[in-house]
């Protein structure tokens, strides 16, 4: 069977690849949105922390003989703790200033992290093998579904929707949303806002770390893997706007799929298609798809 002259099999596998990339976009832009909501900081280092998560998984598995499943928990935890340390020692001093200082500081952290990992691992890539339980593929009749890719999409969907649920439907999430609207007032109600801010940042970057662990077996783990991704994710954030949690998840997945489709029909355009979509959105709906300008 063919669709527009492309075999269904090839089409489906590119779509799935698009969904995998889309899951990473969704997790990263979700983290950015949550952090920006409460901290008013655009975390440039998100990409570097994603890279750090992937390297943690690699180091844990190859150097310490831990398995993938342990690293799935440990690596995001380590990245989260690192994030908390950064928030407590550096970011904290910039909240009263213009947003751009937060961007510049996290940009510096990105360069530093990339430099450190480069000095240890060089620029050539490392690979992590797919865990035993997820090796192989399932034949669905119309396509062959590699198990690991299905796991990445499923896992990130669960994490993203779980985050959405916690923020929109629970009491903790209500504090968070209130803190986004008016931190002074929330503090007056006896909620420890500075601690909430710290934990939010830790959680946001842990999401990036988790995305890194998920990505490690399917892509080349290099010190530069994060910065190429973060620029695309920024475009995703501009397209979706950071006002809505569900909005960033949907935009992320959608753009991954669009990118996958472009790879089928016009491969040369696949690396810029997200930016082209951004331009179109800026022309037609400057505030973004789910935009509430802040």
């Amino acid at each position: 069977m063919e669709i527009f002259g492309v075999p269904l099999q090839a089409m489906m596998s590119q779509l799935l690849l698009g969904l995998v990339n889309g899951s990473f976009y969704a997790m990263l832009s979700l983290g950015l949105a949550v952090i920006f909501g409460l901290l008013n900081v655009i975390n440039f280092s998100h990409g570097a922390l994603y890279m750090m998560g992937a390297f943690m998984a690699y180091i844990g598995v190859t150097e310490y003989g831990l398995n993938y499943w342990m690293m799935l928990v440990l690596a995001p935890l380590a990245v989260g703790i690192f994030g908390i340390a950064v928030e407590k020692t550096m970011l904290r001093w910039l909240y009263k200033l213009d947003h751009l200082y937060g961007l510049l500081l996290t940009f510096g952290i990105t360069l530093l992290l990339e430099g450190v990992f480069r000095s240890f691992f060089g620029v050539s890539g490392q690979t992590l093998s797919v865990p035993e339980q997820l090796q192989g593929a399932t034949n669905l009749g119309f396509m062959i579904l590699p198990n690991y890719r299905a796991w990445v999409v499923a896992c990130s969907l669960v994490v993203c929707l779980g985050t959405w649920f916690v923020i929109e439907k629970t009491r903790l999430g209500a504090y968070l949303r209130a803190g986004t609207e008016n931190p002074k007032l929330v503090e007056a109600f006896g909620i420890n806002v500075p601690r909430m801010v710290t934990l939010t940042y830790g959680f946001g970057v842990a999401l990036a770390g988790l995305a890194g662990v998920l990505a490690a077996p399917v892509i080349n783990v290099t010190p530069l893997m994060g910065s190429n991704l973060i620029i695309v994710v920024f475009a995703v954030v501009v397209i979706g706007g950071m006002g809505s949690i569900l909005g960033s998840i949907i935009t992320g997945l959608l753009l991954g799929v669009i990118e996958g489709l472009t790879r089928v029909f016009y491969p040369e355009g696949s690396e810029v298609v997200v930016f082209v979509v951004m331009v179109i959105v800026l022309l037609l709906r400057p505030a973004g798809l789910f935009g509430k300008e802040k």
């Binding site: 655009i42 200033l97 510049l104 920024f234």
Partner: protein, 340 residues
């Protein structure tokens, strides 16, 4: 009066410099100084943080390099074409980016500049990873032979001084005052009847064109153009130069550019020196980890020296004069108030 003496001193120093230093390196310094000053026109005087200035720097460099080496255009036309390219690119990117405010503006410029990077990577005429090599210097106006480093130095100095003068004039013109008003409080500027978007766009195009002038000149000086100049790290580097020197000051970006370019070139030597004297072998790798060091400087500057070198000195003088605490630097006071 004081200022005039300083300008004269700086000019005298610049005129004498090639007799003491390596002219090609000095020319590179001048190009980056002009680049940083052009960037500062936006961040320091209009309050817009562009994270995509490498696109203008590199595209002008590629255009000039291609026209000089493959088409054989005269030098002055090649440079003009480079400037025109980045000005047009500035118009396109600027008109898209000013549709959003604040931090979104930075993200859009970064994303669009990445598109330019991919264009440079994939286009046939840029030679991808290899870049353009062997760009001829030619003769200025068909008479002055630029293959002599010393002659070229004075031409580059003239270009840079003209660029600085234009920036200085812009900042102190009525147009510059409107930009300042927009930076301080955009809604108020609009309510006073200024079309803020039009002013922002004009400032953006001007900054892009001057950045292009710096990029085109740099290609002429070094004789090659590579992907480094269009990569996002270059956009970050120019932010750092401006930040180190002092955003919103006239001399700051020049000093910042000198420091950062010097650091990039000499870091290896500094590393070897440290390794020799401390016995820690790790320092020898410092030359390859420029990114790490620039990242560290970024962090320290943002946390401790937000005014930059010139800004801090200015604040010191102010304190000595008035004995009053100087105000914190504000890139966008309206936003600060909102956040506080």
């Amino acid at each position: 009066m004081n200022k005039k003496i300083l300008y004269a001193l700086a000019l005298a120093l610049a005129l004498a410099a090639p007799f003491f230093g390596y002219p090609v390196f000095l020319m590179k310094l001048l190009c980056f100084a002009l680049f940083a000053c052009a960037f500062n026109l936006l961040i320091g005087f209009t309050g817009l943080l562009s994270f995509g200035h490498a696109a203008f720097f590199g595209s002008a460099g590629y255009t000039t390099g291609y026209l000089l080496s493959s088409v054989g255009l005269p030098v002055e036309l090649g440079i003009l074409a480079g400037v025109a390219t980045s000005a047009v690119l500035g118009l396109v990117i600027g008109s898209l980016a000013i549709r959003r405010q604040g931090i979104y503006f930075s993200m859009i410029t970064l994303a669009l500049a990445q598109m330019v990077y991919f264009a440079a990577l994939r286009s046939p005429f840029t030679h991808g990873e290899d870049g353009l090599q062997g760009v001829p210097r030619g003769k200025l106006l068909g008479m002055i032979d630029l293959s002599n480093d010393l002659t070229l130095y004075y031409v580059v100095l003239a270009i840079a001084v003209a660029g600085f003068a234009l920036i200085n004039r812009t900042v102190h013109s009525p147009f510059g005052q409107v930009l300042k008003a927009i930076k301080e409080n955009e809604p108020r500027a609009i309510s006073l009847g200024y079309d803020a978007d039009k002013y922002k766009l004009l400032a953006f195009v001007l900054s892009a064109a001057l950045t292009g002038l710096a990029g085109a000149t740099k290609t002429l000086v070094l004789g090659f153009e590579t992907l480094t100049d269009v990569h996002w790290t270059m956009s970050g580097l120019v932010v750092l130069m401006t930040l180190v020197g002092g955003m919103g000051t006239m001399a700051g970006p020049i000093i910042g550019a000198f420091i950062i370019v010097l650091l990039e070139n000499k870091l290896g030597e500094v590393g070897n020196f440290l390794a020799e004297h401390t016995g820690i072998a790790w320092f020898t790798t410092l030359g390859e980890s420029v990114g790490m060091v620039t990242g560290l400087i970024f962090i320290v500057c943002v946390l401790l020296f937000r005014r930059g070198i010139v800004g801090e000195i200015g604040a010191l003088f102010e304190r000595m004069g008035k004995k009053a605490p100087a105000a914190a630097p504000r890139v966008n006071p309206a936003k600060d108030r909102e956040a506080a």
